[in-house]
Symmetry: C2
Subunit: 315 residues, 2 copies
């Protein structure tokens, strides 16, 4: 497909794999890039030197474009950016922070910069900061999430109306049908998280992948809204948060309950009850363990069939 998103990244398919903590190492990202999409390393769960190692392995594993996702609230951000620049990474997706702080610096270094937002307000701010494209992520997305709770169906048209630069939709997308829906709403690309999190190449723990595959509708919730809203699979940890909130726990108490390594425990170590199992609502539609190649083939097939069916509609 030729559009502004595939041209910007010089990729074949406008399918971006979300840079997810504890899932998106070089194995997952290189598989996505090698299959025509854009693989992203998830720096959020990597020490700077670990990221360097993953970038170096990526360069061996693929000669296709790839990128790094960086949460701008990362503690040692200067060091991380220094590695990204010195290793010659060409594409960066920033999230969870102010896009004005880094965008110009990264652009001067020749990087393509994309910022992830959950509202038109922040999309405009990011566009004004000079980013090359926007990822707009709806309420149904896994992991950290916006306070406005705007769903992908409502968010994409509103953001599209607000900005001129290319728009990538995220949240609730896991098939060619939802990719076609995102394009109908005005997106020129999609970012897919949960389905790749549960793929063979994901670095997540097998038990976490199995939990995604087993999950049904209503099994995720957006929680910890008073700290930083995060969507996760409901488990014992989630119930503890609910109970704490019901008894009127303060922000500090919730931060202390969350602790330091819940996401690693849940996603990387497979602690299904006490860990933080970040995943999107679309996990309910994910029903098997597949390779990235199988996932991308299925998305292409279902997208083609869907577009073909839509073509016959007259009104």
């Amino acid at each position: 497909m030729k559009n502004r998103v595939t041209s910007l990244f010089e990729i074949e398919l406008p399918i971006i794999q979300g840079g997810m903590v504890w899932c998106s190492g070089w194995k997952l990202a290189s598989a996505v890039s090698n299959n025509g999409g854009l693989g992203l390393l998830g720096a959020g769960s990597m020490y700077p030197e670990v990221l360097r190692e993953h970038i170096q392995k990526m360069k061996i594993a693929t000669d296709k474009p790839f990128g790094v996702n960086v949460p701008l609230l990362y503690p040692d951000i200067e060091k991380l950016m220094e590695i990204i620049i010195s290793e010659g990474v060409k594409i960066i997706f920033t999230s969870a922070g102010n896009p004005t702080t880094w965008t110009q610096k990264l652009k001067e270094e020749g990087l393509i910069v994309v910022h992830v937002v959950s509202s038109a307000k922040f999309a405009i701010k990011a566009a004004n900061a000079g980013v090359d494209a926007i990822v707009a992520e709806g309420f149904e997305a896994g992991g950290h999430n916006g306070r406005e709770e705007t769903t992908t169906m409502c968010l994409i048209p509103i953001v599209k109306e607000a900005i001129q630069i290319p728009l990538i939709a995220a949240g609730g997308i896991g098939s060619g049908n939802s990719m076609a829906a995102a394009f109908a709403l005005g997106a020129e690309g999609v970012q897919i998280g949960s389905r790749f999190a549960a793929s063979k190449e994901s670095s997540a723990h097998d038990l976490y992948k199995k939990a995604i595959i087993a999950s049904k509708e209503g099994d995720t919730a957006l929680t910890l809204k008073s700290i930083t809203p995060v969507r996760l699979l409901k488990n014992s940890f989630y119930q503890q948060v609910l109970l704490a909130e019901e008894r009127g726990a303060t922000k500090e108490e919730l931060i202390s309950l969350l602790g330091k390594r819940r996401a690693k425990a849940g996603i990387f170590e497979g602690e299904l009850e006490e860990g933080e199992l970040e995943v999107g609502q679309i996990s309910a539609a994910i029903s098997k363990l597949e390779s990235v190649e199988e996932i991308i083939l299925d998305i292409k097939d279902t997208f083609r069939t869907c577009i073909h069916q839509l073509t016959s509609l007259t009104i």
Copy 2:
């Protein structure tokens, strides 16, 4: 358009106007039916004899198919159903209650029965009860809403997978683009609420319509989750609910705070601060007061353009 939804209702366009409390009287519903869609009278805010009057006016105002939406928790439901049957209504949309109670009786009387759900679980239950079609309504929809918080983008494919009967998508739909998106996800029709609530023919108060038109992203919230989740515009009443919840109010206290006539006050009488202003997230994309004819023309135009653009996509 010819599909299972237009055939079932014998209508021209697979566009259903939601049967909304205090908005959907005979003026709105007849305008929608006369413009090729399916108009629904919203019985939820009508005394039985008021509904009878609206049905009789509908029969004068249109010779096209129309229906009635009935929340099954309606207190005087026997009387209401008796009127619907004796007045010869052909189509009923039931919501907020158990579809097994009334579906067979209504079918025996020759009515087409559609049930509104927010999950695949209840879609299957309604299909087993014998309904002719399902409306699946996502988290972004206005008014009463499901506990699972599944968004339209995730809900439609999951429900589609679960049932064989025709599926109508609701929640976040207000344009031809979102209608095309709903079709991409597997729907064969759309139910549109907020955009018609703010139309000239809606019986809602002008101030309520103006509030919808003025609203921006993040201006609605799903609230009163411990009683019955409802999406409304954030106002003073909403803030009072938040404060009550923060101080740990019981269910009974919240029911008492809600009181008896908040929705009427907000929607019908234009009490913007103390009323309950039920509306969906898509209100942020509604920017002017239009007639039903203008709305339906715009939906047709944007749908056609959208399908045409999608047709050119190859992958």
